[in-house]
Amino acid sequence: MAKPSKEPLFFNRELSWLEFNRRVLEEAMDPTVPLLERFKFLSISSSNLDEFFMIRVGGLQQLFDAGKTRFDPAGLSTARQLTVIRRRTHQMVADQYDCLLKELEVLLAEAGIRRVGVEHLDEQQGEYVERFFEEEIYPVLAPIAIESGATFPLLRGLGLNLAVRLRPAAAAPHKQRYAVVAVPRQLSRLVPVPVVEGFRYALVEDIIGTFIEKLFPGEPVAECIPFRVTRNADMTVREDQAGDLLAQMREVLLERRHSACVRLEISDRASTTMLKFLKGALKVREESVYRLPGPVDLSALAALPKLVGHDELKNVAWPPQSSPLVAPNESMFDVIARRDVLLIHPYESFQPVVRLVEQAADDPDVLAIKQILYRTSENSPIVAALARAAAKGKHVTAVIELKARFDEARNIEWARALELAGVQVIYGLKWLKTHAKVCIIVRREPGGLRRYCHFGTGNYNEITATLYSDVGLMTCNEDFGVDATAFFNSITGYSQPVTHRKLEAAPLGLRAKLLDLIDSEIQRSKQGQKALILAKVNALVDPQIIQALYKASQAGVKIQLNIRGICCLRPGVRGLSDNITVVSIVDRYLEHARVLYFHHGGESLVFISSADWMPRNLDRRVELLVPVEDPDHQRRLIAMLNLGFEDTVKARALTSDGSYVRVRSASPEKAVRLQEVMYRTAREAAQQAQTDRYTVFEPQRPSSSARS
């Protein structure tokens, strides 16, 4: 590979991630975004940052502490990465609070929505809050007195706490006394306060602070300060999210069972005495302390938009449309047998997928259902349908991934319920996280057994399917059925992996397939043919894929990438990546679909996939790459890919120095917004289908899902 300059070939992934979070925060700062949506973006930028500290910073910090020097592909040492990360995160946090305190809260106040301190309440409100404290809060609080720094309690990571400093006892005037009150998770952070007009709320920690002395009868409280610690994530989470760091961390981890504190966030009202005490007790370095001018943990503010109503401050709803391919009331089996169904969520409803599994559960001809469940909703209708199917004597197999971070407890709970119903539950593979999304239904039909498959880029979760942009493909094509079944047998451990006809799976052949596809464009370009790659993934980190793309660029292949999050590829560098452009879209729906297009000499190869282009996805996860073959479906996906590069409202382009700049249209009338166009197109198609149904006179027949 030619190295045109001394510039590193890759961007550092942590910094690229911070750039992404910056884009999320920018949505919170954007005055064209409805106010309560800005509030949401702010809280998302905060919870994103929490995870980043827990997993990425935690990992780097441990490496650093262990004295291991490691250079990332961008050539940065661990120490250097930590320094730059710290500088940027301090700035980011400052920006978050500026945004909240100087902009959003001011604008909200104008709209009549106010956060109030307890001291500013009128008498009636004060009485209400006191009663609320007595009845709802006080009974669940458990203050812990601290004798010395050594006995400091192990606080839950990311939980909100109050540090209490008591006035010294008369007998020992120089001995400071401390206590910690953990704010229980079940208490909601925002407590609405009765008011004649508008909306007022107090923060639960402020209420506790006001009545704190009730917890320490007879002992005067000097100060009561909200704070929060962030710990290193536990092993299982880190295996998936920071496996790249893990290899060198193993021996270190054995020595350290307790995960260290990587960040201390504390209200800037804290006295120097208090701060010094906490830093010592938690063993936190100065640079890991974040003094906050406002409420600790902005992610808790996500609850506000739900509390206040005020639809005029929210997005205009874009309700999911019904797919024109799926007639209402028709059996999903008939629908799919007629033609492959491509669904683009959330513009198109997820309902057909739920309907498919529900009808499978109730259809007497269905023999078996096999499904991978990764993260699913509470009270998931799909889970209920699987249980029902098993109760009806069908063979139901569910692969449940317990390594789905943060959801483990919930997953275990309904996994047990499924087992009780007779479902064969398999808990993923050792070492590998099962990330592919597939559902197979085996049905006996007059012409023989037929397998119906659904492949998705998103989880079987009808709630997130209204918030994330994802693609799903339903088909009863024989080759897909054979492949999906074989794939399923391999992840359930029933068989060794076998060669697939159409699908490619990670960690086996997916990476090689991608490299082949890129290489094939290179060969065509060298022969003077047109060569083009369009890809939309959430992250591009994998050095091998990036190198292949560089090589393709140098061979004249035009490459357009739409990468929502981390991108370690440097676009537009002369002699390296002239032909590569990268955009990122952050809009109301989380861009989540992975869609790939290869020109392939005009043959148009289009794929959907569960895999991002990161080493973890290609090497340590079970993922799928699924070809989309119906030309109409291909056209829809290509159109969506192209829209990403035409967007002039929510798209930002990555520059060769790693910063992102907004893409603007020449005039506002020409502005294009991908998500809006997608919604409009879906709505028009749904309306057209509706009209067509009314104008085609069709005699009514009994439901065709009945046995023929």
């Binding site: 023999l367 078996a368 063979h395 064969q424 085996v442 012409g447 023989g448 057994l449 024989e478 054979v482 079944t485 074989a486 047998n489 451990g493 029933y494 068989s495 060794q496 992996p497 076998v498 060669t499 006809r501 086996l508 052949g509 090689a512």
Partner: protein
């Protein structure tokens, strides 16, 4: 496969598809195939599963299968059973499970099979080399139907497995020789390991060792040079997938000999671990790859083969085709088995015309008596072959030629037939004259009851057929059958005098009367047509 076969059994079930499962327990793993046999006879594969288990390693080094290995098999078989249950494949007639050399050669095979049956209710049968030959032939027949190279000139079909190699010789499209050899890729690997040779010597040792075995094999095959070699088995298919870009879309590919040999040499030197990594294949496949390809290479050389054909077919295809054919063997196989009997007969200078007439009549009688003997279609083939070979003992001496016929048959290979079937044929041939089956006849007594009864039923028919052909007439006689009161009447239409036959039947019809509970007589056909039972 086998689309034209239409047995009474399968036509009764026309319109519905059938689900079947076949399991094959080989030297390095177990495989399950679930397939749907459609109403038109076409076969659709629904599931293909494979799991590694080192049975061959156990048997080929210690002669016994270790208990832990057996338990692994139990576990795998249970999981296979679960998948089969998903499709409702649970009846014995839907399932065929076979084990090849690794189990066959294990000293403790009986207890292993019992253990498998006890814990999974799956009855695994060990099959012999000859039966593997048959299944291989059936498996590839369909894929190779279009191959003109195999219809003209000579070719060998070689299925090189982990523990044994099945070799078929095709002359002008007919199987003229079939044999099973103890040449196996895993066996070679195990032998090599006992040498503990340094890595750089492995390739030479491999070549040397395989050359020796292949040369021995070459001696046994009646034709020394052939035009083409059909290489069956996973290793050959892997080579095809690397060498032939169109492999994925074709049922059979033709590989250039030179590139095949280069690949064999290249892969033989790659350590197994690297093969696993580089080609993403399971360990036990990587283990046999080098030895198998080198063996194919040397076979190709020693037989002077010009091209190597690799069909996409395996033992499991053969098993499924047999299930699809119902209780009969497939027609392709029957034709080849009959041909191999005729070849054997010629070797012993039999009277082919007489033999074929007797065989033809035997089959007609067998069909006419279907309701009485209740034997399935496989026995028809055994009877036909016994009839073809009943007089080959004359080659030795015409005194007690029936006994000579028996041991000649017992000591011959008949294409695709296992020991048990060959014994049945030999006994039926033996009882075509003189003494009826007696408990003190050693070979007869060694049979199980079903076998003994079948021999009696078939021998009774053969005797009648032989009696009717006493004249050794130039053409086969047109006959029909009728039941009258308590007797079975053979009606002969050719107007010849039947005195001779009547006498012969008196002498040879006793066994028939004993077995079928009615005497058999012969009568000349009248002008008024009597209703024939069967044609």
């Amino acid at each position: 496969m086998n689309k034209t076969t239409s047995t009474p059994q399968s036509s009764a079930a026309a319109g519905a598809s059938r689900l079947v499962a076949v399991i094959d327990i080989g030297a390095s793993g177990m495989r399950l195939r679930i397939a749907e046999i459609l109403a038109d006879g076409a076969v659709r594969t629904l599931e293909s599963l494979q799991q590694a288990v080192h049975l061959g390693k156990d048997t080929f080094t210690t002669r016994r299968i270790q208990t832990s290995t057996v338990e692994e098999c139990v576990k795998i078989l249970k999981s296979f059973r679960r998948i089969m249950e998903e499709y409702g494949v649970t009846r014995p007639d839907q399932i065929r499970a076979v084990a090849t050399s690794a189990v066959r050669e294990a000293e403790n095979r009986a207890s292993v099979l019992d253990r498998l049956y006890m814990s999974t209710q799956i009855n695994v049968e060990t099959i012999e080399g000859a039966e593997e030959n048959r299944l291989t032939y059936i498996a590839i027949h369909d894929a190779l139907k279009q191959e003109k190279r195999l219809k003209k000139g000579n070719a060998i079909i070689v299925d090189l497995g982990g523990g044994s190699t099945e070799l078929l010789l095709l002359e002008e499209g007919l199987v003229t020789f079939a044999h099973s050899y103890r040449l196996g890729a895993l066996r070679i690997r195990e032998t090599l390991e006992t040498y503990r040779a340094p890595v750089d010597r492995i390739r030479a040792l491999l070549d040397q060792h395989i050359r020796r075995v292949v040369n021995q094999l070459h001696h046994t095959v009646p034709v020394k040079r052939v035009g083409a070699m059909v290489a069956v088995g996973g290793d050959a298919q892997f080579a095809a997938s690397l060498l032939s870009p169109s492999w994925a879309d074709k049922r059979v590919v033709s590989l250039d000999l030179k590139s095949f040999c280069n690949l064999a040499d290249k892969l033989a030197t790659v350590p197994v671990d690297d093969l696993v990594r580089q080609y993403r294949i399971p360990y036990q496949e990587a283990e046999t790859l080098g030895p198998a390809l080198v063996a194919y290479k040397q076979l190709a050389r020693v037989f002077g083969v010009k091209s190597i054909l690799v069909p996409k077919a395996s033992l499991r295809d053969g098993l499924i085709a047999e299930i699809a054919a119902g209780s009969a063997w497939t027609e392709e196989f029957s034709a080849q088995a009959i041909h191999s009997a005729i070849t054997l007969g010629e070797k012993y200078a039999f009277d082919r015309r007489h033999a074929e007439h007797v065989a033809g009549l035997s089959v007609q009688l067998f069909r006419a008596l279907q309701a009485d003997h209740g034997l399935d279609r496989r026995y028809e083939l055994l009877l036909r072959i016994a009839a073809l070979l009943h007089e080959i003992g004359n080659f030795v001496s015409d005194r007690s030629h029936h006994k000579h016929s028996m041991y000649l048959i017992l000591n011959s290979d008949l294409f695709g037939l296992g020991r048990k079937d060959i014994t049945l044929i030999a006994l039926v041939a033996r009882y075509h004259r003189r003494a009826a089956p007696q408990p003190y006849h050693e070979e007869y007594q060694a049979l199980d009851r079903d076998g003994r009864v079948a021999v009696a039923k078939l021998a009774a028919i053969l005797r009648v057929a032989d009696a009717l052909e006493r004249n050794h007439l130039p053409g086969q006689r047109a006959v029909s059958f009728e039941r009258e009161k308590d007797q079975f009447v053979v009606i002969i239409q050719d107007g010849q005098d039947l005195t001779f036959e009547r006498l012969a039947l008196k002498e040879k019809g006793n066994l028939f009367a004993e077995v079928y509970g009615m005497p058999v007589t012969v009568r000349a056909g009248r002008a008024a047509r009597s209703e024939s039972i069967h044609g």
